[in-house]
């Protein structure tokens, strides 16, 4: 399974767009890129998933270049409630949900 590298922490202000970039140089053909959000003392929650190009849902966008060795999670107009840890995961589409959780990126949104 490919390991991921992402910034340890980021600061932002309410209303700004936040982009968190993740590198996954050893991603395999049958791996998907998935982002989770975790609030203190809660379980992680799925945000978005993609394989290539761009994926958008009601909370975020995910940009994946053609070589798939990196990805960028984009959170539009963040609010204080978006303060959380964000995990970038590479997940294989066989063999059950097996992935490597790194320390994630701690996002602090300020007023």
């Amino acid at each position: 399974l490919a390991k991921t590298t992402q910034p340890i922490s980021m600061d932002s202000y309410e209303g700004q767009e936040v982009n968190i970039t993740c590198s996954h140089n050893n991603i395999a053909t049958n791996d998907y890129i998935t982002w989770y959000q975790q609030f203190p003392s809660q379980g992680p929650r799925f945000i978005i998933q993609g394989y290539k190009t761009k994926v958008t849902n009601e909370v975020a966008s995910l940009f994946i270049p053609a070589d798939r060795k990196s990805s960028t999670l984009s959170l539009p107009r963040v609010s204080l409630s978006d303060t959380a840890v964000y995990y970038c995961l590479v997940v294989r589409n066989t063999g059950g949900f097996k992935t490597i959780f790194g320390a994630g990126t701690r996002l602090f949104v300020k007023a």
Partner: protein, 113 residues
């Protein structure tokens, strides 16, 4: 809809005491089930996963064990807790044919004193 229940939310146990954490899933059949542990400020470490009743795979050697007595029930146990067993324990499930997304419970904060 599917839901996952995990209890208790917090637990304080003395060193050497036994442990039993329970997780149940509703609204799905034959899920894959997982136990994770999270140390403070760290990522999640996979401890056990199960693809069916009585089928348990251990990812790391440790003082803990897991059992799956029923299809949607997953139990994490220890006969004698160590201080190093303290942490945030999370149960999760994924669909049998959905390997790229897992759904997590609310977690149990275990403090061994």
């Amino acid at each position: 809809s599917q839901t996952i229940h995990q209890w208790p939310a917090t637990l304080v146990q003395p060193v050497g005491s036994p442990l039993s954490l329970e997780c149940t899933v509703e609204g799905t059949s034959n899920p894959n089930l997982y136990w994770y542990r999270q140390a403070a400020g760290r990522g999640l470490q996979l401890l056990f996963y199960s693809v069916g009743i009585g089928q348990i795979s251990s990812e790391v050697p440790q003082n803990l064990s897991a059992s799956r007595p029923q299809d949607r029930q997953f139990i994490l146990s220890s006969k004698k807790l160590l201080l190093s067993d303290s942490g945030f324990y999370l149960c999760a499930w994924s669909a049998v044919d959905g390997n790229t997304e897992a759904f997590f419970g609310q977690g149990t904060r275990l403090t061994v004193v």
